[in-house]
């Protein structure tokens, strides 16, 4: 894993997420570019690197977002750990696997985040929130083919196919 490449990718994602994503929204939903990065590095790297990469990704999202600082770091580390722990059971190189895992875990992450917000502010509407979570997760999963291709160009993705552990 090349850390300089990772940091450059993270920087570009942060810039795109906070300035450009707004222009391709579907209602209140915009794709979360950070999440495919979490899934990609959870598929690719060992536990220590995965945790550190997800912590940096979460901190980056926290920096560009309102709310409790560090909350995304905790959620991304937890998500990355779960994906990492059963990645050997998956055929990680297949696009459908990547899209499905991104969708499922993005959905779970958004639900947990929404619960945290609901507890904090008591102001979320259940039906609208669930619809928004579904749209966001679907939109994020749809961005996977492009993002994984870009990440794969900069990182050694052969590990996704051949190396165990």
């Amino acid at each position: 894993m090349r850390w300089l490449t990772f940091l450059c990718i993270l920087f570009c994602i942060s810039l795109f997420q906070s300035t450009q994503m707004h222009w391709i929204n579907l209602g209140p939903a915009v794709p979360d570019l950070y999440f495919p990065l979490v899934v990609f590095y959870s598929f690719l790297t060992d536990m220590k690197r995965n945790t550190f990469a997800n912590w940096l990704t979460g901190m980056s999202k926290d920096l560009f977002s309102e709310g409790s600082f560090g909350i995304n770091s905790v959620f991304f580390i937890a998500t990355g750990f779960f994906i990492w722990s059963f990645r050997e059971m998956l055929y990680r190189g297949h696009l459908v696997t990547q899209i499905l895992i991104t969708f499922i875990f993005s959905f779970i992450y958004n639900v947990v985040y929404a619960i945290h917000l609901a507890i904090s502010f008591h102001s979320l509407c259940l039906s609208e929130t669930i619809w928004m979570i579904f749209c966001c997760s679907l939109y994020t999963a749809m961005s996977v083919p492009v993002l994984f291709w870009i990440f794969g160009r900069f990182q050694p993705t052969q590990k996704l196919f051949f190396i165990q552990g």
């Binding site: 999202k61 977002s65 309102e66 709310g67």
Partner: protein, 157 residues
């Protein structure tokens, strides 16, 4: 108390889907301070939460943490406008006897001293009265379409 408007462009949006804030290119060097209010098209956009030298973060009225004291223009009922992370907001504490209808205007109230009175916030789009509930469930649409604006005015004290 003299209020001076500072024009600013929107340079960033919140990275999270559930939080609604914008970053503007005016900060403490332009006289912006926390809790200054932000308007566009003669309607409320939000309030400044974080200020740095040349930029500030504005919490939008649609943010789940936003609570704005308001008043219904037609009935003069006192309400709280609350964001819920969608394009709409909710009215909290709208009494069940209030005669609200679609198209009613909600403006700011000066209760609390943070917002100036009578600044347009939103328009009622839907209200529902559940049996046994103390308050109406009212959905309102902000007057400013945040996704369509590129610049704002910060009203500094």
């Amino acid at each position: 108390m003299k209020k001076t408007p500072v024009p600013a462009d929107i340079v960033g949006y919140d990275a999270s889907n559930f939080r609604k804030s914008i970053t503007i290119n005016a900060g403490s060097k332009q006289g912006v301070k926390p809790n200054d209010i932000v308007v566009s098209d003669n309607a409320l956009v939000g309030k400044v939460t974080t200020v740095s030298g040349r930029s500030s973060v504005v919490q939008l009225i649609t943010d789940p943490a936003a609570r704005i004291p308001g008043r219904v223009v037609q009935t003069r009922e006192q309400v709280i406008v609350e964001g819920n992370a969608t394009a709409f907001c909710k009215l909290k504490y709208a009494p069940r006897w209030a005669q609200l209808k679609k198209g009613d205007d909600i403006v700011t109230s000066d209760i609390g001293g943070l917002y100036p009175p009578s600044l347009p916030i939103a328009t009622v789009v839907e209200n529902e009265l559940k049996s046994g509930a103390l308050f109406q469930s009212v959905k309102v649409l902000p007057r400013v379409n945040i996704s369509k604006i590129e610049s704002v005015l910060v009203i500094t004290n």
